[in-house]
């Protein structure tokens, strides 16, 4: 289950994770070896088995839609890397 460098770069792009050229190669080797260990699962017959997503049989939990106090904008913006006039500053999202 050997990955190529192109595949690694594509996954990094999907994960929005910057990787150096060295990182890409190291990641390629390590991920390939880990994926190799996953192959054992393909030998198990699970054709009639339902998947388990959560182990507790709880269903959608709803509460009354009541308004209550929340955090102040100051509390939330206290951790913002670049707050500006009550907003989070980011680079332009829409390009020309």
């Amino acid at each position: 289950m050997a990955l190529t460098q192109e595949e690694v770069s594509h996954i990094a792009k999907l994960a929005r994770l910057g990787l150096s050229a060295e990182d890409v190669e190291r990641m390629r080797e390590q991920l390939s070896s880990i994926l190799e260990h996953f192959q054992v699962l393909q030998g198990l017959d699970t054709s009639d088995i339902l998947p388990t997503a959560y182990v507790v049989p709880l269903h959608s939990v709803l509460r009354e839609d009541l308004s209550e106090d929340s955090f102040s904008p100051e509390d939330i913006l206290a951790n913002a890397p670049r707050p500006e006039e009550g907003y989070f500053r980011v680079q332009a999202v829409l390009e020309e």
């Binding site: 994770l17 260990h37 709880l58 951790n79 890397p81």
Partner: protein, 504 residues
């Protein structure tokens, strides 16, 4: 004691205080001394902070020591002893793993990404422990985002095992384990996604409990793998474990996975003996390659339980155990890649802003903010969830998850609990496995099936191999915490492994 040496009043007072304040007292022992006013809450908190100053330079269990929070806690605890509302945890020094939010106190998750993050709210478990009167003295070191088995993946520094400073305390909650084991605090909270409480509890000779999925609310716990994560206690004794568990369980409207059932009285469950309880030793947990010392310690421990009236059910086999590790390393990274998508450098946390557009900033933020293991798991999870691979990996793993769960359910029809080692080895050396992810992953091989099945498991000290701790793990069916604590407590009434102190 007529022949005790009598010195000047102040000297003898100090002598007795020291006697009353060994760093290795249990919560139960501290509570008695506080209730009888032999010690004040300030004495106990000062002793904890002093102990941290003395030993933490070598152990490095703490990322943040919270002296201010401790003195606020002391004032509140003293008031509760005065007005008669003290609980068993009132005035008890405690440490919290640094992935649980503490209002106004940095919560770094062991990561550069959250190095300066100061939460505006408390996790439910922190709120509940404060309501019970604990005195928080600090936040503990951990593998970055709880990903690791040795605490060497902390972005800041590794923690050392108090039993041998050249060895790891286990992980990811290694700081919490080392803080209790070195006598810095009486208890600590950890989180357990694949063994992160039980493996370090075993490595540091402590009781550590991973409760049933959904029993302890996770509001305010930094998410790693949401279908696996649970919070639980580290303590010296199983009886203490029951006390801490009691304070943190129960339904929470802010966690939609929280179980709404009535909460039992865990300390009361300890009063019953274990005669006639059926214990299984699944053969897959005692493979030929198991460290001989670990196998011997476990055999002796099981002999003790038999001597207390438990019955061993032979021939228990859980063949799907072999598939648990790959199943886990698909499910956990997949969920982690989704949970950690939130770290984009915009709302909080580390932020790089040298890029020419928003996407470059985001990629650089994540490149510089995350360490190697976190990146590896994000990559693995993103791959397993990506178009064309979802069925082969994530869906397949969730189906195998069903097989592992069912097999355990069948075993629990024949057994009240399963007894296994908590890890295949004694604590390993710092640096020994750090460059080999697969060897590191294998150290959780006995703890992972429990998270996959959502069941509870308790680790407790079972003995030593050449001075290094060996942990015994007791697994039970969902919501069987009372039975596990009862077995563990009976074992500790008959043994003194949990009363040994490390050579610090």
């Amino acid at each position: 004691m007529p022949h005790a040496p009598r010195r000047a009043t102040s000297g003898s007072r100090r002598y007795w205080k020291n006697r009353l304040l060994s760093p290795y007292l249990t919560i139960g022992e501290l509570h008695l001394r506080l209730k009888r006013r032999e010690l004040s809450c300030a004495d106990v908190a000062q002793a904890a902070l002093e102990r941290i100053r003395t030993v933490d330079g070598r152990v490095r269990a703490f990322l943040t020591v919270t002296e201010e929070a401790a003195s606020r806690g002391v004032a509140q605890a003293e008031a509760r002893f005065r007005d008669g509302t003290a609980t068993p945890l009132t005035g008890i020094p405690a440490a919290i793993k640094d992935n649980m939010c503490t209002r106004g106190i940095r919560t770094s998750c062991g990561s550069r990404m959250l190095e300066d993050f100061v939460p505006p709210y408390n996790a439910t478990v922190v709120e509940r422990l404060q309501a019970a009167g604990m005195v928080m003295v600090g936040k503990t070191n951990m593998d970055e985002f709880a990903m690791g088995s040795s605490t060497e993946n902390s972005a800041f520094f590794p923690t050392h095992n108090p039993w041998d400073l050249k060895r790891v305390p286990g992980g990811s909650s290694g700081g919490s384990a080392a803080a209790v084991a070195s006598g810095e605090v009486a208890f600590a909270l950890g989180s357990d996604t694949g063994g992160s409480i039980r493996q370090p509890a075993g490595f540091c000779s402590l009781a550590g409990l991973k409760p049933t999925y959904g029993l302890v609310p996770r509001y305010g716990l930094v998410a790693f793998a949401s279908s696996l994560d649970q919070i639980g206690p580290f303590t010296r004794s199983v009886a203490d474990c029951a006390l801490v568990l009691q304070a943190i369980v129960g339904h929470d409207l802010r966690d939609s996975t929280s179980i709404p059932d009535q909460v039992p009285d865990y300390s009361r469950a300890l009063q019953t003996d274990i005669k006639g309880l059926r214990l299984g030793m699944p053969i897959e947990y005692f493979p030929p390659g198991l460290e001989p010392g670990v196998a011997d310690v476990l055999k002796q421990a099981i002999g003790v339980l038999e001597g207390l009236g438990a019955r061993v059910e032979w021939g228990i086999s859980l063949p799907s155990t072999l598939y648990a590790l790959p199943t886990y390393y698909i499910i956990a990274p997949s969920e982690c890649s989704a949970n950690l998508a939130r770290y984009d450098g915009v709302k909080y946390g580390f932020s790089a802003h040298g890029g020419s557009n928003m996407w470059e900033d985001m990629e650089q933020t994540r490149q510089q903010g995350f360490g190697p293991e976190v990146k590896r798991r994000i990559m693995l999870g993103t791959y397993a969830l990506s178009a064309g691979y979802y069925d082969a990996y994530y869906l397949k793993a969730q189906k195998v998850r069903t097989l592992i769960r069912r097999e355990l359910e069948v075993a629990f029809e024949r057994c009240d609990a399963l007894v296994t080692p908590s890890s295949p080895t004694v604590p390993f050396r710092l640096g020994e496995k750090v460059d080999d992810p697969i060897q590191m992953y294998l150290s959780d091989i006995f703890t992972i099936p429990v998270n996959i099945a959502g069941i509870p498991a308790l680790t407790l000290p079972a003995g030593f191999v050449e001075g290094l701790p060996v942990g015994m793990q007791l697994m039970g069916k969902g919501l069987s915490e009372e039975t596990l604590l009862r077995i563990g407590h009976a074992f500790q009434e008959a043994t003194d492994w949990h009363q040994q102190a490390p050579p610090l």
